[in-house]
Amino acid sequence: MAETTHGADHAVESAPGMPQLDFSTFPNQIFWLLVTLVVLYFILNRVALPRIASVLADRQGAIQRDLDSAEQMKRQALEAEEAYNKALADARAQAQDIVGEAKAEIQKDLDKAIVKADAEIAAKAAESEKAIKEIRDSSAKSIQEVANATAADIVKAMMPGSGDAKTIKAAVAARLKG
């Protein structure tokens, strides 16, 4: 069988079997592994891990600080909003008051003006009434005079010498009344 000789040839140039079970290399591997582990442990334990831990703690602190300040700002904003709302309500109430006052004042002025106007109107009306009455009276008197004069003229013309002015006047007054 050709392969066996070939395999045997090959076995010479490559290490026999599994290199993992070549016990002659074990002390070497173990030595270097221990060196590596010790070096790595010191690098990590002395430098890397404390640094990462401090960075993480810093970040946690920063985040906490930011959260705290955000909380505070939120509180401040809420307070400001409350104050604003209160101011707004106050201003509204004040405006209401001012409007009410103004309204009352206007009403008062208006009432006064109305009363004054009423009085004026009443006075004017009374005056006019008086004037009308005077006119009526005077007109009634003039009618009577005209009637007296007319009656006297008629009587004079129809029956001259009869009747005097006094009788005629009484008769006209009786006729005008009746």
């Binding site: 079997g17 290199p19 070497n28 591997q29 173990i30 270097w32 990590l44 960075v55």
Partner: protein
């Protein structure tokens, strides 16, 4: 010696990629010889330093890209330790994080074509797992004294069953480092060997090598996932074992 070789001319050596070679020249490998293991572990340390030390040098409140990667990994492992072991386990967080970073970087660096995967070696993962196992066991006895043995005495079971369960619990306790280490090494080794086998097919099939190449791409994607998941699993099992040591009530 059974090479995976057939008469059709396939020449696949899926295990050659795991060979340990001296970096300078050839010769016997002593315990201090700088080898490709040394090189790739050094690269892992350098990458970890660049990522976790240089990447975070800005200490920015708003992180840069590399800083947020570092922070994400920190937060991920920190939360894992805290969730599984509670507050008491956080004291051991630096070591667990070291394990996680080392395994994750070794797995990912191993996926670079032509690189060497340190975590594919049972010697490496066994040291990691034995470290966890011994550390956790010693810690359990130091923290809880003989009460730590209550881990093996299932007090919620019927009395007659307890000795049987105790034997099973003890066996499963001592199998922990074995499965802990072999899971990691086996997963990584299997993935790399599969890719290598498919690559061998691709070399032999000529124009039809497109199919193995598609398969390699798919397996490679799976391997990226496995690399991360195995680092995660190793770390979380460490946390689970640590939790057993800190709270041995069963």
């Amino acid at each position: 010696m059974a090479e995976a070789e057939s008469s059709t001319g396939f020449n696949i050596h899926p295990m050659d990629q795991f060979q340990i070679k001296p970096l300078f020249g050839a010769g016997e490998i002593h315990w201090y010889t700088p080898t490709n293991v040394t090189l790739w572990m050094l690269i892992a340390v350098v990458v970890a330093t660049v990522l976790l030390v240089l990447g975070t040098r800005g200490r920015a409140v708003i992180p840069s890209r590399s800083q947020s990667i570092a922070e994400m990994m920190y937060g991920f492992v920190y939360k894992m330790v805290e969730d599984v072991t509670g507050k008491e386990g956080l004291k051991y967080f630096p070591y667990i994080f070291t394990l996680f970073i080392f395994i994750l970087l070794a797995n990912f660096l191993g996926l670079i074509p032509g690189s060497f995967t340190t975590t594919s070696h049972i010697a490496v993962t066994a040291v990691l797992a034995l470290g966890v196992f011994l550390g956790v066991t010693i810690l359990g006895f130091v923290k809880n004294g003989t009460k730590f043995l209550g881990l093996f005495w299932v007090s919620s079971a019927p009395l007659a069953l307890r000795p049987v369960l105790a034997v099973i619990e003890i066996i499963s306790y001592f199998v922990r480092p074995v499965s802990h280490s072999i899971r990691l090494a086996g997963n990584v080794m299997a993935g790399h060997a599969v890719i290598k086998v498919f690559a061998g097919f691709a070399g032999a099939l000529g124009v039809f090598s497109i199919f193995p190449i598609i398969s390699i791409t798919a397996v490679y994607g799976l391997e990226v996932l496995v690399a991360a998941i195995q680092a995660y699993v190793f770390t979380i099992l460490t946390c689970v074992y640590l939790n057993d040591a800190l709270h041995p009530s069963h």
